[in-house]
Structures are given as structure tokens and as C-alpha cells.
């Protein structure tokens, strides 16, 4: 029995040591990767971002607000905190993560979507947070995956089980192999894509239109958050970036939602800009799909926003 236990102990020690060692290498490697928005979370958690303007929102924030243009136009420093596939709940948590580690911004531009306040379960591409699993706020973000048993995330290496390629990327990155991944600039992802024609298929499948839901508790929480930020002398701007017009028409209650945003922004006194009917939203050349501008569209949008509306608001 003793011999068995001794050998079992030696085996377990070597095995656990190996697992933690490899996990360490993966983590170190993957944190320098631009896979999804991992490099952004590395920067955010590392701290020291001194941004005057902070962009918050979903993928429509991530790909629509280019800090280079913003910085050139305003003279302010800027950081884009957009999280692909996110809704308000995870955006708020990501903002908290940012504020925990970095200096408070002067201005928060919150990029609103028509579906921002829909309650959904889960964080899209949550594996991008896994290298930061030790962070309390990251745990809180991943808690949004309500149906996920998260115990396994404490097991070294196994936590990457959702996306096996992270393991290989991490290890290869650690030994100096680089991947062709889109680099983020201050959290912004440039999208040099052409119109992908997926919209036509989508519109055929949803010919009767779709209705977006605004969860009142979530929208109420958002208003409270904005008031708290305002109380900390942070200027809040709500912006609805352009949608391709035909895509917008498919959302049967878009006018109602925009009006709701406008009314509430007036009531709590935050800036609100709506670009859903801007002329650039009529041209597919400015988009790569129904709800995302490509880099050409972004340049036009930034020009409109920062040369006109934003200046009027801030300066």
C-alpha cells in the first residue's frame, strides 16, 4: 500500500507540475496574441492606459470608432473598449474591469445598438478572457455564461478546452511563431472588408422583419450607471452608429427604440447622437454587412461625427 501511495504521489506531482508548467507557457504566449481581443484585455489588465475618451459597446463600437482619427480630430487620447458580440451586461462589466486598472476617462462614448439592452445568456467568444481567469472581474464577466459549469476553468490547460487552438497559439507564440492576426490599435479593430452579401440571405430569411427587445431593468441599470459616471465628472455620450438602411428596415421597432433612447437621454441629460439615417448608411460600399461599417465607412462616419456633432457637444 505504501509503495503504491508513494508512486501515486510521485506520478501526481510530476503530472500536476507538467500541467501547470505548460499552462504557464500557454498563458504567457497567448496574452501577446491578437486573437480576438486578447491583446486588449492584456493592456487593460496591465493598467496604465491614460485615455481621455473611452469607447464602450459591442462589435459596432469595436470596428466603428478609430482612436487614430479620434485623437487626430480632438487632440484627446482615446481607447476602444468594444467587445464583439456583447450586450449591455457584459459591456458594463468590461467597463468596470477597465476602471479597476486604469485612469478614469474624461468622456465615455457609449455606442448603442438597437439590441443593446436585450438580456442574453453567455459571453460571445468567452475564451478570450480565459488567460485572465485569475482576475476577479473576469470571473464576474464569465459568470454571465449562466449555463456553463465553470469548475473546469480552474484546471490548468483544460480551461482552454472550448477552443483548442488557443493552446497551440499560446505555445507557438511563446517559442516565437507569429500568426497573421488583425492587430488592434488601442483596442480598435480595422475591418477592410467588402460587402459580403450575407445580408441578402438574412433579409430573405427574415422577410417579415425582426423586433428588438429593450429590457427595462437593463436599460434602467444603464441609466443609473450613466448617472454614477456623470457624478464622477465623466461626460457621457450615447451614439447609435449607422446601420445599412435596408437592414434597419428589417428591425420593425427601430424608430420606437431610437425615440426611447432620445427621450431618456434628454431626461437624464446625456448627449445622444443618432446616425441611423445619415446618408452614408444608404451605400453598401460603406459596409461589410448590415450592421458594420468597413474602414471606408468608418472614415466617413468619424469625419461626420468628430467634425460636426462631437465638436458641438464637447467644445
Amino acid at each position: 500500500m505504501n509503495e503504491f501511495l508513494v508512486k501515486l504521489f510521485i506520478f501526481s506531482t510530476i503530472f500536476i507540475g507538467l500541467c501547470y508548467g505548460v499552462d504557464y507557457l500557454i498563458e504567457k504566449g497567448i496574452k501577446t496574441s491578437s486573437y480576438r481581443e486578447i491583446s486588449k484585455w492584456s493592456e487593460v489588465i496591465e493598467g496604465g492606459i491614460d485615455a481621455d475618451i473611452l469607447i464602450v459597446g459591442s462589435s459596432r463600437a469595436l470596428v466603428h470608432f478609430d482612436p487614430r482619427i479620434i485623437e487626430n480630430n480632438t487632440g484627446f487620447t482615446c481607447y476602444n473598449l468594444g467587445l464583439d458580440g456583447s450586450k449591455y451586461e457584459s459591456q458594463k462589466k468590461v467597463l468596470n474591469l477597465y476602471l479597476e486598472h486604469n485612469k478614469e476617462p474624461k468622456i465615455v462614448i457609449w455606442s448603442l445598438d438597437l439590441g443593446s439592452f436585450q438580456s442574453i445568456e453567455g459571453v460571445y467568444r468567452y475564451e478570450q478572457f480565459l488567460p485572465f481567469w485569475d482576475e476577479k472581474m473576469v470571473k464576474s464577466i464569465l459568470k454571465l455564461n449562466k449555463n456553463q459549469d465553470q469548475d473546469y476553468l480552474n484546471i490548468p490547460i483544460a480551461k482552454y478546452s472550448n477552443n483548442p487552438y488557443l493552446k497551440y497559439r499560446g505555445l507557438l507564440k511563446k517559442v516565437g511563431v507569429n500568426f497573421s492576426e488583425p492587430n488592434l490599435y488601442k483596442g480598435y479593430r480595422e475591418s477592410n472588408f467588402r460587402w459580403d452579401n450575407n445580408f441578402e440571405k438574412f433579409s430573405q430569411e427574415n422577410a417579415e422583419g425582426i423586433s428588438e427587445i429593450v429590457s427595462e431593468p437593463l436599460f434602467g441599470d444603464f441609466q443609473d450607471l450613466c448617472l454614477i459616471l456623470k457624478a464622477r465628472d465623466i461626460d457621457i455620450h450615447w451614439v447609435v452608429a449607422p446601420y445599412y438602411q435596408e437592414a434597419l428596415k428589417l428591425i420593425v421597432n427601430s424608430d420606437e427604440i431610437i425615440q426611447k433612447y432620445r427621450d431618456v437621454s434628454n431626461r437624464i441629460d446625456v448627449e445622444f447622437q443618432d446616425y441611423t439615417s445619415n446618408p452614408l448608411s444608404y451605400e453598401t460600399g460603406n459596409f461589410y454587412n448590415g450592421s458594420h461599417l468597413n474602414s471606408r465607412g468608418v472614415k466617413k462616419f468619424m469625419e461626420v461625427y468628430f467634425n460636426h456633432s462631437f465638436k458641438i457637444c464637447v467644445f
Binding site: 503504491f4 506520478f11 503530472f15 505548460v22 478546452s161
Partner: protein, 501 residues
Amino acid sequence: MQNAFLLLSSYVFYGWWDWRFLGLIIASSAVDYWCGIKMGTVTPSGPVTSTIGTSHLDDRRGLIHHGTPLDKISPDGRNELPITSTTGEVSPSGQVSPSNRKLYLSISLVFNLGLLAFFKYFNFFIDSAADLIETLGFQAHISTLNLILPVGISFYTFQTLSYSIDVYRGNLKPTQDPIAFFTFVAFFPQLVAGPIERASNLLPQFFRKREFQYQQGSDGMKLILWGLFKKMVIADNCALVVNPIFANYQTASGLELIMGAILFAFQIYGDFSGYSDIAIGVAKLFGFELMTNFRTPYFSRDIAEFWRRWHISLSTWFRDYVYIPLGGSRVSKAKAIRNIFIVFLVSGFWHGANWTFVFWGAIHAALFIPIFLVGKNRAHLHEGEQLIPSLKEVFQIILTFSLVCVAWVFFRSDTVGEAWGYLNGMVSNSLLPENYLWFGYDLRIALILFLILEWIGRYESNWMVRLQHKWFRYPAYVFTAFLIVFWGVFTEAKEFIYFQF
């Protein structure tokens, strides 16, 4: 004391899933324990005296296997050897009368099969009856019950039935030790998905004091490790590919459908044999030896060999308690074919209340019968030891595996119609569309490694026991464990497939 602790642990283990069903397993054990005693032997004055095969046991414990050879069992299942002692109702000659023995066997059969029929097949029969009535042009307003299938019921009822039948046949002397018997039925490592143990193998092990043996514990750990690899690396990764293919078989390409069927074969093998390995390994840690349940079945050279290597505990159960009592092969060809069909159909039906399982069994019967008719069903009884198979063997293995994969499509599909649709799609859908689903390098490498290691260990309990030198052995164990963590699926709890049976 050891048995009492094991019994308590086993009930806690089972009750963890749903404590309400503990009553079923206790009732099943109690009925068979009682029937066993009633069918067994005592002297007219009452106390048990054991004779054959029990010299190393005390009288209170009773038992043991008489070692009756199969040719001494008559087609009706009765042991043709003389019964030497009796328990319970005693005839003037000191024996329980045959009619009473039959009565108690019937009680055991009715109770256990009744439990199975109610929990597992009630809704199926109701639905099938309703379908039949509607096919005949009548309106059927029959409602089904919202029943939960108790985990492991198919396994423990068969295990406890084997005890009753063996006692009835006179192959076993009934045990007088309720703790040992109840532990035998509820023994946690193999309670929920087998191996379906015979009382003659497992029950005696509860009567000796068990002490930890290094070699047994070490072998157990190796089996657990390899079982985990099979389950978490092979089966669960295959499931990630297989599930979407079967869910969308109408739109899948021919290649995807073929791949889905092949990967399901690996999924179910990894899943079930992995569980069996873990169960056998855990039992070894407690000092028990369970029967081998799988012996690299996908290296079989014909269907008959496949069935000697796949789910051995179930196929031998059906052989001993259904096929041989029906007359086995020692009857006319027509009756033998009937017997084969019955065994395969019942075996299929055992897996679940669905026509897909019946079809699965029927396909295997249809594949087995031609081999039986030409007298080749025992062609590969003796295994070679050669590392490199001949071309002929490779061809036979691939052919057998392909046929097994076709049958698995029925096993995996929700309805017979879906299975036909799936098989039809394999040959009629475009073979390689523009966007096809393929599976990752992880799984490809893991499968190749798995096949190589299975081939190396095909005549042993697993490949690890072949590693002799410690400089190979220990790194191999650590590396296997590491691969489980590196390649295993942890994202969602994946139950063992056979838990549903």
C-alpha cells in the same frame, strides 16, 4: 464490515442521482434474495448446510458456483446435475418441489422484468399500440406517463436476474448473507453501466477479506487512466463532431455523413469501453476483479468475432440465459436461425424502447446468420499474436468495421426514418460540397494514436501492461494523463451514453 461500508457507499452513490430510486434497487435486491433462498436448499430441519464448492466458506454465507458446464444445462435452463441441498419450502425428500422453484423464479422474473417493462418500455408499448390502432383507421386516445428511467436499471436487473436463474438451475447455492447480496447488486463501480456481472464471479468476492494488492491496484490505475483517455479524449471529442452531423443530416454532404457514422463508432466505443475500464479499474482498487467487457472489437475480422469482443458481459448474458435455453445451435438450422434472430432483437431492444435499436439488432442478426450458415462463426476463436496483420486481415477488419458503422447509424438515430435518410444521404448527397465540416487535427492525431495503442494492446487488458521497462512505463503514464488534460473535453458535462440504458 467491508461489505457494509461498500453497500452504504454504493447506495449514497446511487442516491446522489435520485434518492427516490434507491427503493427500486433495494426492492429488486430483496425480491431476488428472498426468491434465491426459497429456491435454494436446506435440510428439512432448517439450517443451511452447504456442500458443493463452499468448503472455504462458512454456512451463514452460503453459496457458491457449482461450475456447471454448459452441456449439463438442459434447453429449458435446468441444471441436470443433482441438487444437493435445499432452502425454504421443503419437499418430503428434502428438496423444494420443481413447481415451487418455478414459482419463485417466476416471481423474480416478473418482478425484475416488470420493473424494466414499466420504467423503460411502458410508453413505447403505449405509443406503438396507438400507432397501430390509428394505422387500422381508429382513433386512439391513449396517454403516456411521464416516467424517468432509473439509471442503471437495465444493468442491475439483469445482474440480479442472473443470480435467480443460476440458483434455479442449481448452478449456484443461494447466499444467506443479505449484506453481501445487496452489495453485489448495488456495487457502485459497475452499478450504472456494467459490466453486468454474474453472481458466480462477483458474489464470492464479497465473502473474503479484501486486502490491498500492489499489482492489482497498479493495474486498476492503468485501466482508469486509459478509460479516462477513451472517454474524455476520444468519445467526447468525437461527440462534438457527430452530434451536429446527426442533427443536420438532411443538409450534410455524403462525406460528412460517412465521417459522422465512423466517428460515432469511435464515440460509442470510447464512451462505453472507457466506462468499463474505469469501472473495472475502480473495482480493482477495492480488491475486486470484474469481467472484461471489451476486447478491441473494431479489430474483429467478422461479425461473429465482433460479438465476442463487444459488450461481452451482455452478449454472454444473452447467450447463457436466452440463446442456450432456446436450444442454441444444437437444434435444426431453422430453429437456430430463429434463436439468433431472437437474441439479437432482444439485445437491441434491451438498449432502449425504440424501433431503431430493434433494427440495429436485426442488422447484426442479418450479418451474423450467413456466417453461421457457412459454419464460419467460430473462425477466429484463436487470435494470432502477429504485430503486422496480413492484407486479408486488414480487408476483413475494414469490411467488418464498415458494416458495424452502418448498423450504428440506426443505433444513433432518433427514428428509423431518420436512419434511412442518413444512410440514403451517404450515397446520394454531394460527396464534398464547398463548405464541409471536417474535424480538428487534435482528434485526428488522437484517433491515430488511439488505434495504434489499441492494436498494440489488443490481446491484453490494455497497452500499458505491455510496457515493461520503467523508463518507458512511467513517462507513458504521465503523458497519457497529460493528453487527457490537453485534448480532453471539459466544456460541458458529457454523460456516458450507456447511462441512458
